[in-house]
Symmetry: C2
Subunit: 269 residues, 2 copies
């Protein structure tokens, strides 16, 4: 019933999955898997469908992120993760940009190959405890001192939920720097079209044969649809009933959780 009229799912050859709020709920304790999700990932793989995780996670390298997911029981590898930091590294190389990083300590290793001397742009991630007054002033001074300030933001989320409460996400700090410098940041990560295109390239499937499954109505569902994909919203993670009245974005279907999505998709094949 949730996906009645979803005959289009028969054409599917690959799935893009958001991670936080779909596979697990995050928190200071590392997080807990969402019921049925470990098994759902296993069933996707057994079915022969391709799978790629498409995340805006910027508090850890992909390696340590995958280590955490595997410890929870998810059968995933680093190659199956599309995340903003590697996408930012490609963009920096293509444009000869040398970043000043305002990111989480655990993300810095993703930029190991990048020249960071004499910075000519700022890369902003979810820096968490590194969002100090001094660090924000430093990033601001570098930007305002550039002839044409370049601010690259790893996502533009408003906030997220951890087990100990809501936290301001990178988007809030991006807006602070945008306003102070009177500039527009370039967003790498969902909902940027180029980011979904990278994820599809890594999945090896064209958009009309891929489905995005996420909990974020704008960044997951809206972004994927803009890219020509079908997109399902799960009723887990940051999902709120009011999402179902979103003024601009309408998912191709709602599902209670990842396990239900996989049930229905596999029935169509």
């Amino acid at each position: 019933a949730a996906m009645a009229g979803c005959g289009w799912a028969r054409a599917v050859r690959g799935l893009l999955l958001d991670v936080s709020g779909v596979l697990y709920d995050s928190g200071a304790d590392g997080g807990v898997p969402i019921a049925g999700s470990v098994e759902a990932v296993r069933r996707i793989k057994a079915s022969g469908l391709k799978l790629q995780l498409c995340t805006n996670e910027t508090q850890a390298t992909r390696e340590s992120f995958v280590r955490k997911l595997r410890a929870m029981g998810f059968d995933v590898s680093v190659a199956e993760v599309t995340a903003p930091a590697p996408a930012a590294c490609r963009l920096l190389r293509e444009r000869g940009l040398r970043p000043h990083l305002l990111v989480h300590d655990d993300l810095v290793a993703e930029f190991a190959e990048v020249d960071r001397t004499n910075p000519n742009c700022v890369v902003l991630g979810d820096a968490a405890e590194n969002f100090t007054y001094a660090n924000l002033n430093e990033a601001f001074r570098l930007l305002i001192g550039m002839e044409k300030p370049v601010l690259i933001s790893l996502g533009k989320g408003r906030y997220y939920k951890e087990t100990d409460g809501l936290k301001l996400d990178v988007g809030a700090y991006m807006k602070a720097l945008e306003y102070a410098c009177d500039i527009q940041a370039e967003v790498v990560g969902k909902p940027a079209k180029t980011f979904f295109e990278s994820a599809l390239a890594e999945l090896g499937v064209p958009p009309e044969q891929a489905i995005m499954i996420g909990d974020d109505i704008e960044n997951d569902v809206g972004g994927a649809q803009q890219c020509g994909m079908r997109a399902l919203q799960v009723r887990t993670g940051k999902y709120r009933p009011s999402d179902e009245n979103h003024p601009k974005v309408k998912p191709d279907a709602y599902v209670n959780n990842l396990a239900e999505a996989v049930d229905i998709i596999l029935q169509q094949l």
Copy 2:
């Protein structure tokens, strides 16, 4: 030459002066007077013109702010200072609001008479070192938990200059909270029209007989003009040559500094 064609200055009966960047340059050391400004304030008073300081300063009570200015040699009194915190206190009383304060430690005393139990709004000032990740998350959680979040911002400046460099101003943090909560802050302080009107009431002079002198093209010059005043921009403080090509705001004249402004105004009388 700077004020050729400024015959209108003959009608002037009172001056509103911005403080930081006009009277002195601020800094961790307390700041230093701008050359000629101490004498310029003395000459304004000797001329019989009325004078009111119109500042967005929120890092100190008016009492300690005036103490600092007097120590630099400025002949000014507390009654001659219009500042955002007292204006915010009036607004809070009128609307029965109980604020959570995210402000500088030295400003808290301005809110001594205000009930702050069980907050139903957030008041944001230039909190400087109090702009920590934890304090910003706390203010955010209070706002997002309110049925109708009320954020009152003491100014909306982008940044300011201290002797050790540029600092993000309250407006940047206001934008972060606005974006995260999807709300609009209410601004108390320049460039709010009601704030200039309070300053004029305290000056005791109607807008057409008052001149605003400031270094901030938008908050000082633009705001005062919106209120029916003439406004001069000084080329001190945060002034940048690019201000002279501002797309929206054109001062009634440029002057090199306060001393020059006073020279020219007094010649017209």
